[in-house]
């Protein structure tokens, strides 16, 4: 059950792209950090909760042909790095797209999808993936 508890703590990030922002220099962190490596001691007590924008562009991508069990139904699929509108790089799976149609700079949006499930009886894990933006 340890993994269920860990996943549960990560829900704000995985569902809603909740990260943090340094109140001193404005840098956004995802996943969350409570300490800014740039401002260091200056950032103490100034790092705030921050919701990242769901929209962005493909920064780079790679097509996966040998998938882990949880993603075998979707292969071949792409893993993309996305520069979101806050300027932060996020990575995740790209779905609902022909892998040959993915291009650098393509507008995308983070959506909630099933990431995997603990077998037929266990917990279903949800989190963000990317799709082409409408």
């Amino acid at each position: 059950m340890a993994s269920v508890a860990k996943e549960w703590r990560e829900i704000p990030g995985r569902y809603n792209l909740r990260g943090t922002k340094c109140g001193s220099c404005g840098k956004v962190f995802f996943p969350s950090r409570s300490f800014c490596p740039v401002c260091r001691r200056e950032s103490i007590g100034k790092v705030e909760d921050y919701k990242l924008d769901r929209h962005g562009e493909v920064y780079s991508f790679s097509v996966v042909h040998e998938a882990p069990e949880s993603c075998s139904m979707l292969k071949p699929y792409a893993v993309v790095m996305v520069r979101n509108r806050d300027g932060v790089l996020l990575s995740g799976q790209m779905v609902d797209v022909d892998v040959d149609a993915i291009e650098i700079g393509m507008p995308v949006r983070a959506v909630l999808r099933k990431l995997d499930a603990d077998g037929l009886a266990g917990v279903i894990h949800y989190g963000f993936k990317f799709t082409p933006d409408l």
Partner: protein
């Protein structure tokens, strides 16, 4: 106090399959089957989509259009579906978390075959009207399955729509609602069974037609209205044929049901069907438009609504989220093999 729709959002998966592709596998005239049902293609969810993800996408589109509404002011979230991914563990909590409406709120999953979404709208109307909550969210969404080779396989599809119900900033006032409910076993699925069973021809007259016509007539009688008083109408649509026929029987024209009838292009989205039809009407509505809505859920019951579009729809930020025209554009067609894989119809080794 006026109660009504403050915002709405819709979502339909991108994949489609045509009836001729299904018929080819089972040795029947699929194209003829589709023509008889008035279903020319149906939506198919990706393997990583379910009622949680579809309801979430619809609810996020709904919230994107009202940036002025603080999700913390939502006091209730109801998700109506007959394909909730868990037997025990509410879909509504995950959807509520995904729009950041938690934790000071109530939530529940509703089930009433294809009318659980409209039942959610009624529950929210009561909570808002009584002052118990400021806003309520009602979602109708499904990823329904028909047994391989069964007639339902040509129609059962996936999609959903979400409605923010409140009393401030209403874009469509709900003037009245009326329901007609009886114990009628026309369609059912027992616990643990993967596919539903239906009463064949019994599903028509004593079930669908009787309940929709009774609820619709009750509502028009209470309102003192006639079909001609409405610009738009939407009826539950298990196929394209039934709603077209029930509209005619009640005295509504093809023009009135035009925007509300999506089943011919996306199939039967069950709990999502009337909500999606209403969303498409709202995508195309102007102030003063009067909308007539009647859902149907097997088992059986119908919820009817009389709705008037307000001036507030002029300033409503509809383009903050994709309209259904955009959502439904550019589908990806799949063959039966891919469909069987997507829908989990292939027995995998553990």
């Amino acid at each position: 106090m006026d109660v009504g729709i403050v915002s709405y959002g819709a979502y339909v998966p991108r994949y489609r399959i045509k009836p001729e592709e299904i018929g080819k596998i089972w040795g029947v005239d699929g194209k003829g089957m589709g023509k008889g049902l008035m279903i020319f293609e149906k939506s198919v969810p990706s393997p990583d989509e379910d009622v949680v993800t579809i309801a979430t996408e619809a609810a996020r589109n709904m919230m994107a259009r009202v940036p002025e509404v603080d999700p913390q002011d939502i006091g209730a979230v109801y998700v109506g579906s007959e394909s909730h991914p868990y037997a025990v563990k509410p879909t509504s909590t995950i959807v509520a978390e995904s729009i950041e409406a938690t934790p000071a709120m109530t939530a529940a999953d509703l089930e009433f075959a294809c009318k659980a979404g409209t039942a959610g709208i009624q529950a929210c109307m009561g909570l808002v009207g009584s002052g118990m909550v400021r806003y309520g969210v009602a979602v109708g969404a499904d990823t329904s399955q028909g047994a391989p080779g069964d007639a339902l396989e040509y129609s059962a599809s996936a999609g959903g729509a979400a409605f923010l119900i409140g009393s401030e900033g209403i874009i469509a006032r709900i003037d009245k609602t009326a329901s007609f409910t009886t114990d009628t076993p026309d369609f059912w699925r027992r616990e643990g069974q993967p596919y539903p069973l239906h009463g064949g021809r019994f599903t028509g007259e004593p079930a669908y037609f009787r309940h929709i016509i009774s609820a619709a007539k009750m509502l028009m009688k209470e309102m003192g209205t006639e079909p001609g008083d409405y610009q738009h109408a939407v009826f539950h649509q298990p196929n394209g044929k039934f709603p077209t026929r029930v509209a005619k029987q009640l005295g509504f024209s093809d023009e009135q049901i035009k925007f509300g009838l999506l089943t011919p292009n996306i199939g039967n989205t069950y709990s999502g069907a009337v909500p999606l039809g209403l969303a498409n009407i709202l995508d195309n509505a102007v102030p003063g438009d009067r909308i007539f809505v009647t859902s149907y859920g097997s088992g059986a019951g119908s919820d009817a609504f009389d709705i008037t579009v307000t001036d507030a729809i002029e300033d409503y930020k509809r383009d903050n989220a994709p309209t259904l025209d955009k959502v439904l554009a550019d589908p990806v067609y799949i063959d039966y093999g891919m469909y069987a894989k997507f829908m989990g119809k292939i027995l995998m080794s553990e």
